[in-house]
Every structure is written in structure tokens, then in C-alpha cells.
């Protein structure tokens, strides 16, 4: 495996997925690829974590799936944001920022 790359922070994966889906519906592989690309290769994604996170989002109702035709011309399962998912992106980003700010303060002042 790609040892040197960082694993995505625990708990942030759901946010990343939601954010990636904001720019359009994607299948699982597409999501993983997009996260790696945009992060400039800083993150690699464990597939187990990816599918766990996707199923958790399905369970929460933030995303829904539909089988569609992928760029390969074959059938693939596409994930799309639901209304609640769209709202959740902002919530999660806010939480994330608040968390980061907190961490930052501790790093600087502790």
C-alpha cells in the first residue's frame, strides 16, 4: 500500500465525501480518485473506510444511490447528495473549522 501518504483523519472522511459530491454525482472509485487528486496526493483512502463512510451516509440519509452508466460505458453505482446531505455539508464544514481552530489554539498557546 501507499505507506507514506497520510490516512484521512478519522471522522473527516464523511465531510470530504459530501464536499466532493457537491460538485456532482460520482461512483465510489470516482470519489476516492477525486479526493486524492484534489488533495494533491496528500491523502490516500482506505477502501474499507470509504465504503463504511458511504454506507453510514446512506444510513443517515445524506446520500442516495442510483445505478448509471460510467465513463467506461459499464454500469456503476453513483452516489448523489440528498437535500439533507446538501444541508449537512455546511454543518460539517462549520464543525470542522471550529475543530481546527480549537486545535490551532492549543498548538499555539498550550
Amino acid at each position: 500500500m501507499t505507506d507514506k501518504k497520510n490516512e484521512v483523519f478519522q471522522g473527516s472522511l464523511e465531510l470530504l465525501i459530501l464536499r466532493v459530491l457537491q460538485s456532482g454525482d460520482r461512483h465510489g472509485y470516482g470519489i476516492a480518485k477525486r479526493i486524492e487528486q484534489v488533495s494533491g496526493g496528500a491523502f490516500s483512502i482506505n477502501m474499507g473506510s470509504l465504503y463504511t463512510a458511504l454506507n453510514r451516509l446512506l444510513r443517515k440519509g445524506h446520500v442516495e444511490t442510483e445505478w448509471g452508466e460510467a465513463e467506461t460505458g459499464r454500469r456503476a453505482k453513483f452516489y448523489a447528495l440528498t437535500d439533507s446531505g446538501r444541508a449537512q455539508v455546511d454543518v460539517e464544514i462549520e464543525q470542522w473549522n471550529a475543530g481546527i481552530a480549537g486545535v490551532q489554539r492549543i498548538i499555539e498557546n498550550a
Binding site: H27, Y51, R74, K77
Partner: protein, 889 residues
């Protein structure tokens, strides 16, 4: 909320879920591989790299599924399915377990439904725990339990601080309807705040009568039930203010009660103000005419004891206002008023019997459980090899325990579910045994509460059954089990001991149940053998109540009676016709204090009360009550200038034990003129075959004991179907607006009075039979198992020359030791059962040696038979087969 719906969707379509996930992941890997190819790799290499980077597909699948949090549920489903399969495989075992449970649980469900409806469930009034009843008692007059008097009510009302509200009521009944739909309805005279006390809800109008309406001139108003409103006014809203005809007189409807109200299940349909003259409402009359039921609502926080103290103090104060002699007499006679919780008071007589039966049902359940524990242990033992093998190849003990638990719980719930069905059928059967005649008996039902308690009970049973096996499977030494089964051929000592303890317990419980059933049965037998004092065969009875509006004077009643008798006596096949207001096994007759003229009271003695009733025609001949001395009353005794009566033997013996009662004079308290005794007739039981110490009856002509309520008694060989229409026609020809009630043969009345004796005995015998069967099955299975466990040993012994009879003796010996221990322990149980039943037994000692002997004999025969079957098989073991074959025989 939606979370659950989505999870359920996945759970339900698990297979689709897995399929789609598989496809999705495969496609993922394929896309990865294609990307690698695009980067220049060879297809094969690309695919391998993709697979490597992707990771374990199986693991990812599992993780993705994990996100739904369904693992526990899916595992459970799988385990349940596996258990179900294994239970179906051993169908005989499963069926026997389920049947045992269904019977035992069913008995308890039915009994609990009865207990719940009668003893547990609160009365159907708001805060019913604050409702109490008050009644008087004058034991010295022979009156342990009276109702209360009118002054009791008016003098206590508003005076006693413990009561928020106090009310009295008295039965009334009235004829309602047109000539072609004539019928008698039950009702009550009630004091103004009666429904306030009960906090009854209304459909419309008002629920109180006014004080004005308690004066006889203004009392033509009524409050009716919802049901009567529907029947008589078709539920029309303008019924208020309209009038309802009761006994031919119009009563203005001022209120309609809420639907379903039924005062203590009396079926009463109308309520009228309890009207009285002002002078009757207070004074020394308070100690007489105790004809009213009193119900009070305690103030919040006040206890029954508070109320009792206050009533006692109030009674004490009132005693100061009467003559010293009267007060001394009343005190000597033990005059007292008691305050009881209303619900407890109503169910008091049914309570001990019901608790005894519940205890019996519970004992049955215990026997069933113990039996099943044994069966389960034996099964676990016979599967010990399988279990040990599975453990040795890595099955966790937890997994095995889980399987046992699930299997047992499944059996418990199937058995328990069937038990509910058995219980439902049982409740129906109880109905035919007469439970509907118990207080609140008509509300016995398999409702949500009973079902919930039953299911909870079933869960406990399941756990109780599973625990010993789980414990023993945890403790069980693996290698030993493997060895024991294959080599040494003898069971482990501790589990054999456990099985023996169980079997002894079972025999003991069955013994206690059997002997209890025997004692109850004997008590019933003795009751049935008790003569009521008359010959009930061929006696037909019916009740008539003449409305006072139509029969205002006693001579109106007299002429009705004369016409009726004439008509009936003329009927072919009727031997004797009589009328009375003191028919046994019907309503309680009036009682009056009787003073024997010329007799001085001993110190500490009071004037006694006796039942009084009128008799007309051949009443005693119709009932077959013997004439002991003197003569019966005759038509001519009804003359103005005659005052004669007939007393029963108990009255005669009480006052003139060694002399003749004929010609003696008695008088009713409150009357001046004496009455001459002209005859003595046999004593009859009035309410119950088991009553001892009869109150005694003074029979007189109608003029001396006037009553508009009367019972008709016919001695005839005609059957009921023919008689009822004939009597109806005769009565209608005299008074077309008079319904005939309670038409039935005398034996039926006696049978109804036996409901609290017959049904318990029948039930106890049913419980005991099942218990006996279970004990037999239990002993059989234990001995059979012991035999199969020791086949090898037996085979060797027989091969070495042991006689089959010695082998037989060995196993029968084991069985007998268990039996003797069980009976010894059971005798102790029977002792306690007897103590518990003491209060409901009639002329039978609770601990009856003959019954114990008979019980021991029956139990021994059945158990020995159960032992003999496997023991016999043991003695016929073929040594060769035993050495070669497996353990399964």
C-alpha cells in the same frame, strides 16, 4: 426514526444489498485496473496492483455492512434459523417440551386472568382505592353482617371528616316496557350524592338527585344508564325531561350515565332517589332496619383506619342519646360498624379459593419446568459428545451457550404462545364452570395486560430452563465428556444428582397437588351429600315482584296470590303449589328481631334475629320440607283475628330444646301483638349447603309478613321447557304487565350456590392429573436415560452372568428411592397446602390421612409403571449389541 426505516429496508433486502455491494466493489477494482493500464501497465499486472491496493474485498464488504449496525440482528436471525432447524430435526423432543409448556402456561394464564379481573384490577371508578363500604354487625343477635340503616346515613353524612362523600343505596326493580315487551329491570334507590361518591361520568343531564327529590312527594325522577337510554329512547337527545314508565308510573329522566357504567356488575339500569320521611332519618331507629348498602369515598390521605376510628367514636356518641338499658343491650350484643375497602370487601369470599387455585396452577408450572429442566439436561448430555467435538475444533463456549439459550427461549416462546391459546380456551371453559357468577367474573378476559404478564412469565421460564444447561455446559470438562461418552459408559455423578433432585421435586409437587385436589374433592363430596333440608328434585321455582302502584294494599297482593294458586293448582301434572318470600337459595329473606314472650334473658344474652317470610298454599309440601310437629299454615290462618305462625326446628330447639314449641307465643320487635306457634317444620339451608348455625325462619301468613316480592314453588314432574310458557300464560292472564323472572328448577339454584366449591375442585383435579402425568413422564425419561447411559455396563454384567432380574431390581430400586424421597417431601408440601386451604374446606381436615394414603398409592402406581418400562428394557439388554452399538437405544 427514518434511520430505522432505512435500516429495515437493508435488513429486509439483505441479499440484494450484498449483491449490489459485490457488483459495486468489482466495478471499482476494474476501474482502478483500467486506470493503471492507461498508465502503461500490462493488463495482468494492472489487475493485480488494483486488487492489492483495493484490499480485501470480503473485509470491505463486511465493514460496509457494519455501518448499518445490523450485525447483531442478522446473527440472531441466523442462530434462530439454525435452532429452528435443529428443533424440527428432533421433533418428538420439541413437541413434548412445547406441549408441557402449553399446558402449564395455559393453566396459569387462565387462572391469572381470573385473579387479575377479580382481585387485582381496580374497580372501574376514578381513584377507586378511596372507596370504602360501611356495614353494621350485631354478633350477639346472630347478625354478623348487616347493612346500614337510614339514620346511619343521615347522621354520618357531613359529620365524619375522613369521608369526602358518603352515600347509601338499596335494590329496586321495576317492570319496564309495553305489554308485548314487558320485562323486569334491576335498579337502585340511591341517596343524592351516590354518583358523586363513585365519580361516575355522565352522558347528559345531571348525576345528583336534589335534597327535595328525597321527599316521597317529589321522588318521581330517575337517572338511567346509557343502555336503557338506547333501548327506551333510541338514544334521542330530547330524552331528558321526558318520562320513563317504571312499574306503570311515569318518572322524569334527569340524567343519563356514560356508556358502559354498570354499578358493581349488578346490571342495574335505572336509579331513583331514595325517598324517606323526615322522622325516619334519625333517632334510635338507627339500630333497626339495616337495609341499605353504604359506600363512602375517603378524603385524599385518609385511611380506612382513620375512618374506622371516626365511625366508632361517632357511634359511641350516639349511644349516649338512647336509653341506658338499650345501650347496654347493644353493647352486650357487640354492636359495631365496620369500614372496609370496597373492592376487598366485594371479593373477600372469592379470594382464598382463587389464590389456592393460582397456587395450584403455579405448582403445576413448577412441575413442568422441573420436568423440562431434566429433559433439557438429558438432551444436553446426549449431545455432549457433539458439543465437545465442536468445542475442540474451536467453537466458543459463548457461541454454544448462545445456541442453547436461543433454542430454549424459542421453545419457551412457542410453548408460551400456545399456552396463551390454551389459556384463552381455558377462560372459556372456566365460564362454563361458573366464574361469570363471581364478582366481576364477567370481566375475565385475555386482555393486553394478561398477555403481557404471560409473555414476561414465559421469558422467565425460558431463562430458568436455559440457565442450568448453560452452566453445566460451561462447567463441563471437555475431554472428560469425550471420554465418558465413548469409554466408561457411566454418567457424571453431579449431573445425575441434579436429575435426581429434579425428579424428587417433581414427585413431591405432584403429591402435594394430588392430595390438595383430593381434599378439595372430598370437601365437595361432603357438601353435595349435605341435605338442604328439602327435596330439590321435581321442584320448579320462579320469582314475581308486584308493583306497589298496582298493588297498593296487602289485600290486592292476597287476591293476586289466590288467583294464581287457583289457576296453577288446576293445571294437570302439578302436585303442589306454594308461594313464599323466604325461598332458600334465592334472595336473602328479611330478618327481624324476635322476642319470645315470657322468656327472661340470661345474663349476656340478647334477643336473636331470625329470618321472616310469608307462606301461602302448599309451600312446604311443594319443597318437601317435613312437618315435625303441629300443623302447616292453612288458608284460614290469614284471617284478621288470627295471629299464627310456623317456625323451623332450629328456632324451636333454640328456645324449647326439650319441650314442644306448639302454642308458644313470640312477637316481632316493634310489634305489640304476639303470634302463636302452631307448627314446627324442618330446618333448611338458606343460602349455602355448608352453612352451619342457621339463623332460623319464622313463617307466617301474608298478612303478618307482608311482601310484594315472592317466589313461586311448584312440585311437578313436568320439564322446564313445558312449564315456563304455561306459567307465563297463567301470570299474563292475571296481570298482563307482570313479568316472570328467575324461572328455573330448584336444583339449579343449589348448583349456582356451589360454584365456589365445584369449580375449584374440578380445576384442582385437572391440575393434579396433568401433574401426575408430568411426574410419570419425568421419572420415565430419567430412568430411561440412566439405562441408556449404562447399557455398556449392563451388557458386561449380563455377559459375566448377572441375572436379568438383578438388573431389573437395580433400576427399579433407583426409581423407588426417588419415589420414596418424593413422597416424603410431598407430605410436607401437602401439609402446607392443607393449611392454605383450611378456610375453604367443609367438614374435611386439611391434612387427611386417608387422602394422603390414597395419593401415595396412586402416585406410586403411576410412577412405578413409568419406572418399569425402561428397567425392563435394561434387563433385556443384549450384551453383544451393547458392546458394539452406540449409546442410542
Amino acid at each position: 426514526m427514518f434511520d430505522w426505516i432505512r435500516r429495515y429496508g437493508v435488513l429486509k433486502k439483505r441479499d440484494d444489498f450484498w449483491g449490489e455491494l459485490d457488483e459495486e466493489l468489482k466495478e471499482h477494482v476494474r476501474m482502478m485496473a483500467e486506470d493503471f493500464e492507461r498508465q502503461g501497465m500490462a493488463p495482468r499486472e494492472a489487475r493485480q496492483k488494483a486488487l492489492r491496493e483495493f484490499g480485501s474485498v470480503d473485509q470491505i464488504r463486511e465493514q460496509a455492512y457494519e455501518a448499518w449496525g445490523l450485525r447483531v440482528i442478522t446473527d440472531l436471525i441466523r442462530n434462530v434459523r439454525a435452532s429452528a432447524r435443529s428443533l424440527v430435526k428432533s421433533l418428538g423432543f420439541s413437541l413434548s417440551v412445547v406441549t408441557t409448556l402449553a399446558l402449564c402456561v395455559g393453566a396459569n394464564v387462565a387462572m391469572f386472568a381470573v385473579i387479575d379481573a377479580i382481585l387485582v384490577r381496580a374497580l372501574p371508578y376514578p381513584q377507586a382505592e378511596r372507596l370504602v363500604t360501611v356495614f353494621n354487625s350485631i354478633p350477639g343477635y346472630g347478625l354478623d353482617r348487616l347493612r346500614v340503616s337510614l339514620p346511619n346515613y343521615y347522621e354520618r353524612r357531613g359529620e365524619l371528616k375522613s369521608f369526602e362523600s358518603l352515600s347509601i343505596h338499596r335494590d329496586a326493580s321495576a317492570v319496564v316496557g309495553d305489554e308485548d315487551s314487558i320485562r323486569r329491570l334491576e335498579g337502585f334507590f340511591v341517596s343524592p350524592e351516590f354518583f358523586d361518591t363513585l365519580e361516575t361520568r355522565l352522558a347528559m343531564g345531571r348525576r345528583n338527585f336534589t335534597e327535595e327529590e328525597t321527599h316521597p312527594d317529589n321522588a318521581r325522577v330517575t337517572i338511567i344508564t346509557h343502555e336503557l337510554w338506547q333501548e327506551e329512547f333510541s338514544g334521542e337527545l330530547d330524552a331528558l325531561g321526558r318520562s320513563l314508565r317504571l312499574d306503570g308510573q311515569p318518572y322524569q329522566v334527569v340524567g343519563v350515565l356514560a356508556q358502559g357504567f354498570d354499578f358493581l356488575e349488578s346490571g342495574a339500569a335505572f336509579f331513583r332517589p331514595l325517598a324517606s320521611e323526615l322522622e325516619d332519618r334519625q333517632g334510635s331507629g338507627r339500630y333497626n332496619r339495616n337495609n341499605y348498602g353504604m359506600i363512602g369515598r375517603l378524603r385524599p390521605g385518609a385511611t380506612v383506619e382513620d375512618a374506622q376510628r371516626e365511625v366508632d367514636a361517632h357511634n359511641e356518641r350516639l349511644m349516649e342519646g338512647i336509653s341506658k338499658a338499650r345501650a347496654a343491650d347493644l353493647k352486650k350484643a357487640g354492636y359495631r360498624s365496620f369500614v372496609y375497602n370496597l373492592h376487598e370487601d366485594i371479593v373477600r369470599s372469592a379470594r382464598p379459593t382463587l389464590l389456592i387455585l393460582q397456587a395450584g396452577a403455579f405448582a403445576l408450572l413448577l412441575i413442568g419446568i422441573v420436568n423440562l429442566m431434566n429433559v433439557f439436561l438429558i438432551r444436553a448430555k446426549s449431545r455432549a459428545t457433539e458439543t465437545a467435538v465442536r468445542q475442540s475444533i474451536g467453537a466458543g463456549r459463548l457461541q454454544i451457550a448462545k445456541e442453547i439459550g436461543i433454542e430454549t427461549l424459542m421453545l419457551a416462546f412457542v410453548g408460551g404462545g400456545l399456552g396463551l391459546l390454551v389459556g384463552a380456551v381455558g377462560i372459556r371453559m372456566l365460564d362454563t364452570l361458573g366464574t361469570d357468577q363471581l364478582p366481576f367474573g364477567s370481566s375475565i378476559a385475555l386482555d393486553g395486560r394478561v398477555i403481557a404478564v404471560s409473555l414476561a412469565g414465559t421469558l422467565c421460564v425460558g431463562i430458568a430452563l436455559a440457565l442450568p444447561i448453560i452452566i453445566s455446559s460451561f462447567r463441563g470438562n471437555l475431554s472428560l465428556a469425550l471420554k465418558a461418552e465413548s469409554r466408561s459408559g457411566t454418567g457424571s455423578r453431579s449431573s445425575q444428582n441434579a436429575r435426581n433432585v429434579f425428579i424428587v421435586t417433581q414427585i413431591a409437587l405432584a403429591f402435594a397437588l394430588l392430595s390438595a385436589a383430593g381434599v378439595l374433592g372430598l370437601s365437595l363430596r361432603k357438601t353435595l351429600d349435605t341435605s338442604p333440608g328439602f327435596q330439590a328434585e321435581d321442584v320448579f321455582t320462579a320469582i314475581l315482584g308486584l308493583p306497589s302502584a298496582k298493588y297498593p294494599e296487602i289485600h290486592h297482593v292476597q287476591s293476586f296470590i289466590s288467583r294464581l294458586r287457583d289457576e296453577l293448582e288446576a293445571m294437570p301434572g302439578v302436585e303442589h303449589v306454594g308461594l313464599t318470600s323466604a325461598l332458600p337459595f334465592s334472595y336473602r329473606p328479611d330478618d327481624n328481631t324476635i322476642i319470645v314472650v315470657g322468656r327472661t334473658l340470661e345474663p349476656g344474652e340478647s334477643h336473636l334475629s331470625h329470618f321472616t317470610g310469608f307462606v301461602s298454599g302448599d309451600y312446604w309440601q311443594a319443597l318437601g320440607i317435613p312437618l315435625i310437629e303441629g300443623r302447616f299454615l292453612e288458608e284460614s290462618d290469614n284471617r284478621e283475628d288470627l295471629r299464627v305462625c310456623v317456625v323451623d326446628e332450629s328456632v324451636a330447639k333454640r328456645y324449647w330444646p326439650d319441650q314442644s314449641a306448639i302454642g308458644r307465643l313470640i312477637r316481632k320487635a316493634g310489634e305489640r301483638d304476639p303470634i302463636t306457634i302452631v307448627g314446627v317444620v324442618g330446618t333448611v339451608k338458606t343460602q349455602d349447603l355448608t352453612e352451619s348455625d342457621p339463623l332460623g325462619i319464622v313463617y307466617a301468613p301474608l298478612r303478618l309478613n307482608p311482601s310484594r316480592w315472592m317466589a313461586l314453588a311448584l312440585r311437578t314432574k313436568m320439564d322446564t321447557e313445558a312449564l315456563v310458557p304455561m306459567i307465563n300464560d297463567v301470570v299474563r292472564s292475571i296481570d298482563p304487565e307482570l313479568p316472570v323472572d328467575g324461572a328455573r328448577i330448584m336444583q339449579e339454584r343449589i348448583d349456582e350456590s356451589l360454584v365456589m366449591r365445584r369449580s375449584p375442585a374440578v380445576l384442582a383435579i385437572a391440575f393434579a392429573s396433568v401433574a401426575l402425568l408430568l411426574a410419570a413422564v419425568g421419572t420415565y425419561s430419567v430412568i430411561a436415560f440412566a439405562v441408556s447411559q449404562r447399557r455398556r455396563e449392563i451388557g458386561i454384567r449380563i455377559a459375566l452372568g448377572a441375572r436379568p432380574s438383578a438388573v431389573l431390581k437395580q433400576f427399579v430400586g433407583i426409581g423407588i428411592r426417588l419415589l420414596v424421597a418424593g413422597i416424603a417431601l410431598g407430605t410436607v408440601g401437602a401439609w402446607y397446602a392443607g393449611l392454605g386451604m383450611k378456610s375453604v374446606l367443609f367438614e374435611v381436615a386439611p391434612f387427611h390421612p386417608n387422602i394422603l394414603l390414597a395419593t401415595a398409592a396412586i402416585l406410586s402406581i403411576v410412577v412405578l409403571f413409568a419406572i418399569s418400562l425402561p428397567s425392563n428394557r435394561a434387563s433385556r439388554v443384549d450384551p453383544v449389541e451393547a458392546m458394539n452399538g452406540g449409546q442410542n437405544s
